[in-house]
């Protein structure tokens, strides 16, 4: 699974940014439907308020390089990316692409991830 996918019917809601600005990971993945996606359409800061997960599309994604996702390695190499001490309570870890590639080092950077920069 990709832990940073756009909202779409069939994707799952992975985390929500609470009023305190911290991501609240859902202990169980919550599938989203077209109605929810339609509600978000046109709203501001969707990528900054929510994190979605969807099946990794591998080579069809621009981040797929040399047989793997390039995101976790780049995040780990960037000192500007905040790192948490503990792993988040995540519902997709066993199937997460980033965890499969980088283990806990990916998970400790995952809470900082925002899919796109705020406009």
């Amino acid at each position: 699974m990709c832990p940073s996918a756009p909202p779409s019917p069939g994707a799952v809601l992975l985390a929500i940014t609470g009023p305190d600005g911290r991501p609240a990971y859902l202990p169980r993945p919550l599938p989203v439907d077209g109605d929810f996606v339609a509600l978000l359409d046109g709203q501001p800061d969707v990528d900054q308020r929510f994190r979605f997960s969807a099946p990794c599309i591998q080579h069809r994604c621009a981040h797929w390089q040399q047989g793997g996702c390039s995101i976790p390695g780049k995040l780990a190499a960037d000192p500007a990316v905040p790192v948490t001490a503990d792993l988040p309570r995540c519902s997709i870890r066993r199937t997460c692409r980033w965890f499969a590639q980088l283990g806990g080092d990916a998970c400790r950077r995952c809470p900082a991830v925002v899919r796109t920069a705020q406009e």
Binding site: A62, T116, A117
Partner: protein, 82 residues
């Protein structure tokens, strides 16, 4: 009905010893999820996180997640198959 555990909201409806038919259970669960999602879509419920803008520059499309390069369209879409 809403319970707060670990400071998060959890909705539980305990029917005691009553076991609903499986199809009805699934229907009700789906309706509950839809109601919850609708509430989560309320902008006031969430806030927007920030990440150092400089981080995005090293990623294709300035996107830290699933992204189809518009200059190299792939067959089909990325949407989850039903």
């Amino acid at each position: 009905m809403a319970e707060n555990e670990y400071a998060g909201t959890k909705f539980v409806v305990d029917l005691g010893s009553l076991k609903l038919p499986e199809m009805l259970e699934r229907q009700v669960e789906a309706e509950i999820r839809a109601v919850v999602l609708k509430a989560l879509a309320t902008p006031e419920v969430t806030s927007a996180r920030r990440l150092d803008p400089s981080i995005f520059g090293t990623f294709p499309g300035s996107t830290l997640g699933l992204w189809l390069d518009p200059d190299n369209p792939e067959l089909g879409t990325w949407e989850t198959p039903r």
